[in-house]
Structures are given as C-alpha cells and as structure tokens.
Symmetry: C2
Subunit: 211 residues, 2 copies
DNA sequence: CCGAAAATCTGACGGCCAGTCAGAATCCGT
DNA sequence: ACGGATTCTGACTGGCCGTCAGATTTTCGG
C-alpha cells in the first residue's frame, strides 16, 4: 500500500501538484464551513485559490471525493481521543477522566464539524464510502467504550440488558448530536461548560454505572 | 391566524390546487427518501406527478420551503410521543414505559427520517427557519424530560451536576442519532430489538436514576 | 346551458454551474 | 537552453433553476 498522492486519473503527482491539491482541500473545508454543503460550488472552491474549475477536476473526480478525504483526515484527528477511554475509571477519578474526554471531543468537533455533518448525511443517505469512513471513526471510540461497559456489566454495576456494542454507539451518538445542538442551546442558557459537565456526568454514569 | 393554504405568491388556493400542492409535497418526501437531498431536483419532483417545474414554483418559492413544510408536519407526528414522557415512572414500571416511548419514537423516525435529516442539516448550517422548527420539535420532548429529570435530581437519585435542560437534550440527541446508525449497526449484529432494549434501559437510567 | 372571469397550469427561455478536453504554460534534468 | 514531463486552463456542451406570458380548465351569475 503506497502513501503516494494521486490525481483523479490515478497518476502519482509531484510537489507542486501536491501543494495545489492541498490548497483545494483547504478551500473546500473553508467553504463547507462558511456556506454548507448545499451551496458548495466547484467554481467557488477554485476561485478561492485563484485557479479554474478544470484544475479541481484534475485532483478529484467530484466534490464528494474531496470531502471524503477531509473526512478521513478528521478520523486521524479522532484517534488520540481513544487514549481517554481506557478501562479502569474509578468512582473517584472517573468523572474527571470523562470530563477530559469531553474536552478533547469538543475540540475535535469544533475543528471538523462541517465535514462531519456532511459525512454523516452522506452515510445516512447510503453512500458506501462515507459509511465506511464513518463506521471506522466510530469504531475507534466504540471499541474502547465497549470494553469499559463490559467491565461495568461484569461487575454488576450496569444492568445486563445493556448491550455493550449498542451502548457504546449510544454514547458516541449522544456526543455527536448534542454538540450539534450547541448554538441553539446557548440561546436557552445552556453554556458550553454546562454541556461539558452534563455530558461528562452522563458518560461517566453510563459506562461505569457509578452515580 | 388563518389555516388557509397559500401559493408561493401568498394567495389562498382552492381545492384542486390544494390537491396539486399535496401531491408535490408527497413527491418531495418520496424522492428525498429515495435519492437524498443532494440529488433532489425540482424537475424530478414535477415529473413524479406528471407536471412541469413551473407548477412547483407556483406553490413553493424553492425546494427548501417544501421540505420545511414536511418538517413541520413531522413535528405534528412527534407531539403524541410526549404522552409517554409524563413524570411518575417508578422503579417497577419505568423500564416498560421507556420501552414504549422508544417503540413510538422508532416508528416516528422510520416515517420521517429523510426529512428530519435535512431539517437537522439545515438547522446546523444555520438556517433560521429550520432551526426554529427543529427547536420547537425538540422542546416538545425536552419539556417533559426536564420535569422527570428534575424529579430525579430532587429525590437524590440523580447527581446535581446534571443540568436538566442539557440532560433532556442529550436524551433526544441519543435517540435521534442512534437511529441514524441503525443500518450500519445491523451489519454488526445489533438488531432492532437490541437497540430498542438498550435505548430503553439507558433512557430509564438517565431520567430516573434507577438501575 | 352559456360566456366571462377567476383559478390553475405550462412551454419556452436566459442564466449559471458541472464536468470534459485539447492544448498552453511551466518546470526540470542534462 | 533544449526537450520531455508535469501542471494548469480556456472554451465548450449539456442540464437544471427559476421566471413569465399566455394557454387551459374551472367556476359561477344570469
């Protein structure tokens, strides 16, 4: 498996071309954040870096392909979050650890939310590639979460009717979606730190069974 | 406030036109489910009911307006769910009640998921109208959930670090997003009934503090 | 039942963007 | 500074959006 970077036609590209490709990816991420997927036009992405639409199609078969790559890059940034989810949370330090995980997750989310939104939309609409990249990203966290939940079930702190896999998915779901509500919740008095503390308490409770 | 139905130019319309408008809404929902928002074309919606694009624009200023109306209709279907979330769940019957709520929510979701996806996307991308309709829908459930959570906090079954409003939002978030994962989870052995039971157990635990 | 007014529908068009391709511009090794 | 390889783009085709003038259908007073 090669790490070479390819153009849309599959040929390996040189340093100058790699720089152009990177600029296109960055411009795509920027416009996605500013305007959203529904108003994203290849013309605008190209203009953003002072080039023509034809250049974009040298490096990507379509906009989806560029966004898919951004989604993969987001997955890379998600990997370190796993470090916060190692079994062994105690009643004494678990809440603090959960809080640290939430902090890290919030930072991750702030950086990538525009891309993650599109990844999730396309995945839910059935796109094979986006499903794959989303599933891989989610399994990163879920694998660790499952272990922790199994531990809680085995110790009798959690009910046996909790399926570890599904519960892990539910925790990830809660994190993802709750942060999407953030702007509207802020208007109703739920500050970032309230969300942080509540989310940490919930995660701590769900995966360890402590209150 | 009148319940009259209007064309895009604001004029009240008659029975024939109402039927056409309804067919356009249904066709929009159908194609949204089949193809997703990114491939939704006014041409296709019109063709679906054997009319021309110009007809569509008689009734809606754009596709968003039609989807927004479908989202409002979804909110109507969400209202009955509140009945499942009245305070007073006991340790004995709470899990059963939670399960009944989850069943109802899953049915609701199955019916409207394509529209809800777009509603959430547009809301998160900052669209004022979609934010409003989403917030209204979420507050329906959250108002009841908050009451139940406050009860649990007051009784000392739930930690005081749980903000009731945020926790209620987290529960809604978990339901919404977890169901979006359903197809991929099914491939990994998490059946609909596993999801149902786990979700019910989690909701029961989070809002009552019982295990 | 008739004819005119109101309501509903649509053909056709200008404008914008997607995506392609042939060839122009630039780079790089010698 | 020359020639081949790499990178970039002008210009074009085709398709969808959204509009509008006017065609078609329905309604209703007489």
């Amino acid at each position: 498996m090669s790490d070479d970077i390819h153009a849309a036609d599959g040929r390996v590209i040189g340093a100058r071309a790699q720089a152009t490709r990177r600029k296109l990816l960055d411009a795509t991420a920027k416009l996605l954040t500013e305007q959203g997927i529904l108003d994203l036009r290849v013309v605008d992405i190209s203009r953003e870096i002072g080039t023509s639409p034809a250049t974009f199609y040298h490096y990507f078969n379509d906009v989806d392909e560029a966004i898919l790559e951004l989604a993969s890059e987001a997955t890379e940034d998600e990997k370190p979050l796993v470090d916060h989810l190692k079994p062994g949370w105690t009643e004494a330090d678990g809440l603090r650890r959960a809080g640290e995980f939430v902090d890290a997750y919030m930072t991750f989310w702030d950086t990538h939310h525009a891309v993650l939104r599109v990844r999730n939309l396309k995945a839910e609409e059935g796109d094979r590639h986006f499903r794959k990249v989303r599933t891989e990203a989610n399994l990163l966290l879920m694998d660790s979460l499952q272990d922790m939940i199994r531990e809680g079930v085995a110790a009798g702190r959690l009910p046996k009717s909790l399926d570890p896999f599904t519960t892990a998915a539910a925790v990830v779901a809660m994190c993802e979606r709750l942060l999407g509500y953030q702007p509207e919740m802020a208007k109703r008095g739920s500050s970032k730190s309230t969300i942080r503390d509540t989310l940490a308490t919930l995660i701590f409770g769900i995966i360890t069974g402590h209150v």
